[in-house]
């Protein structure tokens, strides 16, 4: 995709903002069909040495590209700010149709900029749009600084090794801003399918008889498993108590109105992609439902109280990690009221 570019060393936020305006004006003057996307500001804070990996991930989100992306690359020892502003546009717009432009700025900054990053970013944001912040390499002070400008913080709670600390930090942020957690989004197909499994009226009553939940997950994705269980607990009114770490897994009993629910979060070494590997839900009446990753979707298995067994595939293509990130960007425009209660329950379970 062609792009118009402006760059300057030792520059200022005002100069960057002016560059955006000038590039926009010039492109529009060249062809009135060009119009800037006006959906979302995305501010990304990354370590300079890992900049390429994050930039590649952002490139691949396809149509879920933010309108204006501000990539702040943090370079140890740097004291001044360099900037590169780019305006990407379609090469050959269809006659008579608008051509959407996407704007990007890369700001090369030093660690001392992070505490007051809001003063750098503020003049560069498109006013009136939702602003989302993503800081995949930590830099909590930058995120804290940007909170006053942000409507949404994008994060991935599986990236922290210490799940308790990760969920604690997310809870803290969630007090002030809406959170889009990639770990939660990875569990979406599982939540949808469990919901659908119990949706037929004849099965719905079984939700009140759930006696056991086993969640299989990639070893590093404990937070996804905890969030999934937290979702069930919060939606079904179970009291979320701390689970115990036994040998290689977490287990415990949550209190529901109808009795105890045995919960087990089980790492699966065979699972190579982040997220869940499988879910089994058992009910007191002897029914059991399992969902596991399989070709073409989720492999489902249902056993009824008489021991009869059915297997089928719940169709759906994997979105991959790129798709998950794109979905995360898209979720900035939506609000999921079930995440916070699920997060609170998950945090209680891994406390």
């Amino acid at each position: 995709m062609p792009e118009d570019v402006w760059s300057e060393q030792d520059t200022t936020p005002s100069a960057v903002e002016e560059a955006f305006r000038r590039l926009l004006f010039e492109r529009h003057a060249a062809d009135a069909a060009y119009a800037p996307a006006r959906v979302l500001n995305l501010v990304v804070v990354v370590d300079r040495e890992w900049r390429g990996e994050i930039a590649n991930r952002l490139e691949r989100v396809g149509r879920y590209h933010a309108s204006r992306t501000i990539l702040c690359t943090v370079e140890p020892g740097r004291t001044t700010m360099d900037a590169r502003v780019s305006m990407e546009y379609a090469d050959d717009p269809a006659p008579g149709a608008p051509a959407v432009m996407h704007e990007g700025a890369e700001l090369r900054i030093g660690p001392q900029h992070l505490r007051a990053l809001d003063t750098v970013v503020d003049p560069i944001l498109v006013q009136g749009l939702i602003t989302m912040v993503w800081s995949p390499h930590g830099h909590d002070e930058a995120v804290d600084s940007l909170l006053r400008l942000s409507h949404v913080v994008l994060l991935d709670s599986v990236e922290e090794l210490d799940v308790r600390a990760a969920l604690g930090r997310v809870e803290q942020l969630a007090q002030r801003v809406y959170i889009v957690d990639l770990a939660w989004l990875r569990s979406t197909p599982w939540r949808e399918r469990v919901c659908a499994t119990f949706d037929p009226p004849q099965w719905r009553g079984e939700l009140r008889r759930i006696s056991g939940v086993t969640v299989r997950h990639r070893p590093e994705s404990l937070s996804s498993a905890a969030l999934f269980c937290g979702w069930l607990a919060s939606r079904l009114g179970w009291r979320a108590d701390a689970l115990t770490y036994v040998r290689d897994h977490h287990e415990g009993r949550l209190r529901a109105r109808h009795g105890a629910v045995a919960v087990r979060l089980e790492p699966n070494e065979q699972q190579h992609v982040p997220g869940l590997a499988g879910v089994t839900i058992e009910t007191a009446s002897g029914m059991s439902i399992s969902l596991d990753r399989g070709p073409g979707g989720l492999s489902a298995r249902r056993v009824d109280p008489k021991g009869r067994e059915w297997r089928w595939t719940v169709l759906g293509a994997s979105r991959g990690e790129t798709g998950i990130l794109g979905e995360g960007v898209r979720q900035a425009l939506l609000r999921d009221p079930t995440y916070r209660p699920a997060l609170d329950a998950a945090a209680a379970m891994v406390a």
């Binding site: 608008p98 919901c195 949706d199 070709p295 759906g316």
Partner: protein, 510 residues
């Protein structure tokens, strides 16, 4: 097999974008036809790819040609690979089709329906649940009543512990009498709540956006009436000819093809009152009220309120193109209209006296579908002495395709020392303001039918009301010996259409 119990809300649905859809078996009649290949099966694949199909789903194809299950699956695989908007994932594709069945048979043959019943029962037995059943009629329209009656004979119109629905493609009738007859025959077998008359146009996001635009914004309601609006123009213009559709088009014509359904539905969306809620019948009640408020012309008044035309040879995109009568498959003496324009009035308090101009045509200057709301001029123009010739009444244009969005024309001062005014546009394009791509209309509508949400489907009284508006026009055009006005391909349409416009109104240039 589990039995139904009293329904209680599912607490897991909150917050989910994709709500659960009951396990469904879909039977497509006309499974080897063009619509099935190009639209229906690719739409099913895309739903499967996105994880939007019911957690358990079965597909049965029924058609006249002899074919083995494997051959049907191979055909569908090829159709998906060719027409799906998403590149197919081989595993999803394989799983979608692995249990698909094909039943060859004539649509009036009881044996075919017995096989359908048996295949549906087999799916239920294998799964240990009762699937909802949808019969999708994607055949030539003359088979609609036949299939419906045979479904009734085979007792397939109901299923204990599950919902049964029938989806009927357009055209729903050829005129008022045939539509009523078809409705009568369909409703002898199915209850209205089971009937989903599909008009894919209503599944388009931009059509649904008309309601969002009107009812989710305060600023338009105060001007949305006869006090401020001078007239409304609804245009569905195409630059292409009839292509390979001569067989259908020469029997139908522009009035039946677009005005009777799509364009009157657009009018209903513009003219309706805000519904009390968005359950299907609340929305459809309001649409029906508007359509029923349109005074159909008396047959003898048709020449004053409707104009038809037929394209002659001309130039489109720099290339010479043949006239309609020279198109392959068109009768030499055909009087079928390729252009139709109507002036309609909605007789209610909101719209009395406001003309609604509708026009559609093939081989016009440009492809565009839009609704233009022309406001009345300002009552007094103080700047007239300073050279304000460019001042035009405000116009609000809802663009449906190809460029989806909204344009408002305003008057603004030309920079300079003098108070000179000219019109400028304030534009909003959906493409610049949302991250998501619109799903195909068929994906939305198939899923709605599986969910039992009939909001975007046409109800029987709506069909009746739609036909009542155009029936006198059809009757007059069929009976008159007047020649059909010709217009050059690539033009704005026949000159005669200008006579429909009242006062100073002009057709918007294409």
């Amino acid at each position: 097999m589990a039995t139904a119990v009293a329904e209680q809300p599912n607490p897991l649905t909150e917050g989910l974008e994709r709500l659960p859809v009951h396990p469904t078996s879909l039977v497509i009649f006309g499974a080897t036809g063009d619509l099935s290949h190009r639209k229906l099966v690719p739409a099913l694949y895309n739903l499967a790819h996105d994880g939007s199909l019911p957690e358990r789903f079965n597909l049965i194809g029924v058609s006249r040609s002899e074919k083995a299950h494997e051959d049907y699956r191979a055909d569908m695989r090829e159709a998906i690979q060719k027409f799906s908007r998403t590149p197919p994932d081989p595993d999803v594709l394989e799983k979608l089709l692995e249990n698909a069945k094909y039943i060859p048979g004539l649509f009036d043959d009881d044996a075919a329906y017995a096989k359908v019943a048996s295949a549906l029962d087999e799916y239920d037995q294998e799964a240990g649940i009762v699937f909802n059943r949808i019969f999708y009629l994607s055949t030539a329209p003359e088979f609609f009543p036949v299939i419906v009656e045979k479904l009734g004979t085979a007792r397939l119109q109901h299923c204990e512990h599950a919902e049964t629905r029938v989806v009927i493609e357009k055209p729903f009738g050829r005129d008022l009498a045939s539509a009523r007859e078809l409705n009568r025959r369909v409703l002898e077998v199915f209850d209205e709540s089971q009937v989903f008359r599909i008009d894919h146009y209503l599944g388009k996001e931009t059509v649904q956006n008309i309601m969002a635009f009107r009812f989710a914004n305060t600023m338009f309601e105060p001007i949305w009436n006869r006090n401020t609006i001078d007239h409304v123009q609804i245009t569905a213009a195409e630059d292409i000819g009839i292509g390979t559709r001569a067989g259908y088009y020469d029997q139908a014509g522009a009035l039946r093809d677009l005005i009777q359904n799509h364009m009157l539905e657009l009018l209903a969306n513009v003219g309706m009152e805000p519904p009390a809620g968005f359950p299907a019948d609340k929305v459809r009640d309001e649409k029906v009220k508007v359509i029923e408020s349109i005074q159909p012309p008396r047959v003898e008044d048709v020449p004053k309120t409707a104009v038809r035309g037929q394209y002659a040879s001309g130039v489109v995109g720099g290339e010479p193109v043949p006239g309609y009568l020279e198109e392959k498959g068109v009768r030499e003496d055909s009087k079928t209209e390729t252009y139709a324009a109507l002036r309609l009035e909605v007789s209610n308090w909101r719209w009395a006296g406001v003309p609604f101009y509708l026009r559609t045509g093939k081989r016009l200057a440009r492809k565009v579908t839009e609704i233009a709301i022309q406001l009345k001029p300002v009552p007094y123009l103080a700047f007239q002495a300073q050279g304000s010739l460019g001042v035009q009444p405000n116009e609000l244009v809802l663009m449906v395709q190809p460029d989806e969005g909204v344009t408002v024309s305003l008057s603004a001062k030309i920079p300079g020392a003098r108070m000179r005014i000219r019109p400028v546009n304030m534009e909003f394009h959906y493409g610049t303001s949302f991250l998501s791509a619109s799903p195909e209309a068929y994906e939305r509508l198939i899923l709605d039918a599986m969910r039992g949400d009939a909001t975007l489907f046409t109800r029987n009284d709506e069909v009746d009301a739609l036909w009542r508006v155009v029936d006198p026009v059809l009757q007059y055009w069929q009976e008159t010996d007047d020649p059909v006005p010709q217009y050059p391909a690539g033009s704005q349409g026949p000159e005669e259409a200008n006579a429909l416009l009242r006062d100073a109104a002009q057709w918007r240039p294409l």
